[in-house]
Amino acid sequence: MDKAISVASLTVAYGAATALDNVDLAIPSGKITVLAGPNGCGKSTLLRSIRRLHQPKSGDIRLGDVPISSLREKELARHIGLLAQNPSAPDDMSVEELVRLGRYPHQTMLQPWSAADAEAIQAAMFGTGVSHLADRSLGSLSGGQLQRVWIAMVLAQETDVICLDEPVNHLDMAHQIDCLDLVTRLNREHGRTVVLVLHDLNLAARYADRLVFMKSGGMVAEGEPDALMNEALIEEVFGISCRVIVDPVHERPLCIPIRNSTPRFRGETSS
């Protein structure tokens, strides 16, 4: 299996609190990997560490064979794109302006603009179906449209790896499916490696090629959704007793929660 990113013995702490404890993980190239787990399990921290937004306490993260710590800021941005959990931009910025920002890491003082930039922007807006919105201001868009525009920006970056941190959090069900179908298409048609953080287990199982279960700062299990989606493991990771059936439409495992199996109110930490 071709590895896009490998994480070895990664430990990340916020002050005294350990967010990730000795995590080892390989992200396969050209696949959709979904990081899943309960709130506070460290899935977002792991995603952000891969994009070097956290300084690890110890451990090693490599892009191919290159340690990401050796890359310059723009170099890293040419290889790994990131859609933030709560991205924000000025309301009066136009859609095209935002998508153009995706080209920032490719531009230098001497080469501020190239034909490749123009092509990448057109392709990204076309690929995400926002070409007709190009001149609109961000403030005038709906939540679903806005999320597509942000994905277009990340797409215009033309990175091999795209990280998305809870991209469907604020969307209604139709737009959740719409957004994740779009991400799948980018993966299948453009061969981008995708790393997703999702907290909806059923969406995770439906869209993942590889699923990673995390719990309290560690990786519990990793594999194909069919292998991971079993009742005992889900109970261990998510603390719910459940029944897993096969989704009759997509033939993917589907979890039906029955009841909470752990006592609550133990002071959860947020992710």
Partner: protein, 350 residues
């Protein structure tokens, strides 16, 4: 092929062109105002005559009045007003906050304090400097940088939280102003007629030597401004998204803060603590030219120049022959404007 690639789409091109046309109009207004600023005084010299004198004509008396007394005053107003406005533009951009400005973030207070300490330490008994005037903006810069560093450190992890940044800025600015006042009252510079300059800001009693120092300093600072201009658009995003496309926003912010401090210090060192220009000019510039960065910077500079030249003209017209600091006019107009911005923010996003 890359040379032929259209840099901007038709829509963005249109926006950009409109922005530059607006800049042209503002520049024309600035020029007219500057000429009026030179023409106005105890004797009125009409604009055509001002032009002739500037290009070597006019009587000996007129030449002294225009070239020695009035032109340097207008020149320093143009440069100082412009510098403060560009500093405000940069600060508003990187803090994503239209309330940010050199005054509100305590930079003007810090620069003023730097100058007054410099004068207190390095004046002799007859109130003349024992060292070169060139060091005055350096002292201002030191004070300005320390002030903004203090604001930044006090705001800590929440430096991106607009409210904290502004509150600490206002607090640090107030402390600096109080210290300046104390030094002016008890310090050795109490006799200087210029002393009020560092509290309220005024552009009288300027000579060409001082104009030269500001002009050279400003030219250097503007090279820095245009160098960071390309990185300002990604700074419009939140911190994580900006990192995602390759801009390390926390580091970039420090760079821009330093640049804004330098610009403010240059202005304050010679024109004093003229408040609110750094708040109003960039805001107005964005209303007129919109989002494009380069026209925004140039328009801010010109509007800042217009405001300080205009404020100086107003105090000359209203209060002659008494010299009232131009900063009083900008404060009288700026304070309600600031309140308006605060109230409008309050009503739109809580």
């Amino acid at each position: 092929m890359s040379a032929l690639a259209p840099r901007l789409s038709p829509a963005l091109l249109r926006l950009n062109r409109r922005a530059w046309i607006a800049v042209g109009v503002i520049a024309a207004v600035a020029l007219v105002l500057a000429i009026c600023g030179v023409g106005f005084g105890s004797t009125w010299i009409d604009p055509r005559r001002v032009g002739e004198i500037l290009f070597g004509g006019g009587s000996r008396g007129e030449r002294v009045v225009v070239l020695q007394l009035r032109a340097p005053r207008v020149a320093i107003a143009v440069l100082a007003g412009g510098a403060m406005a560009v500093a405000g533009y940069l600060l508003q951009k990187v803090t994503r906050n239209e309330l940010a400005s050199p005054g509100v973030l305590g930079v003007i207070g810090g620069a003023g304090l730097g100058v007054v300490i410099f004068l207190a330490l390095l004046s002799d008994e007859s109130n003349s400097l024992v060292t070169s005037i060139v060091w005055q903006p350096v002292a201002a810069m030191l004070g300005a940088s320390l002030a903004i560093a203090a604001v930044f450190l006090l705001s800590g992890q929440q430096a991106s939280s607009a409210v904290r940044l502004l509150l600490f800025g206002i607090a640090v600015g107030a402390v600096c102003k109080a210290a300046t006042l104390i030094l002016m009252i008890v310090g050795p510079i109490y006799r200087t007629t210029q002393a009020s300059r560092w509290l309220a800001g005024a552009v009288n009693e300027i000579n060409w030597g001082e104009v030269q120092v500001v002009a050279v300093g400003l030219a250097i600072a503007m090279v820095g401004v245009f160098a960071v201009a390309r990185r300002l658009p990604p700074a419009d995003l939140d911190e994580v998204s900006a990192r995602g496309i390759g801009l390390n926003l926390p580091v970039f912010r420090i760079l821009v803060f330093a640049l804004a401090s330098a610009l403010t210090a240059l202005a304050v060192a010679f024109a004093g603590g003229v408040g609110f220009i750094g708040l109003m000019a960039p805001h107005l510039a964005r209303l007129i030219v919109g989002r494009p960065v380069l026209p925004g910077i140039v328009a801010s500079f010109l509007l800042g120049a217009i405001m300080l030249v205009g404020a100086d003209l107003i105090v000359r017209v209203l209060f002659a022959p008494t010299e009232v600091p131009a900063g009083t006019v900008t404060a009288v107009i700026g304070t309600p404007y600031f309140l308006y911005l605060v109230l409008r923010r309050g009503s739109t996003n809580g």
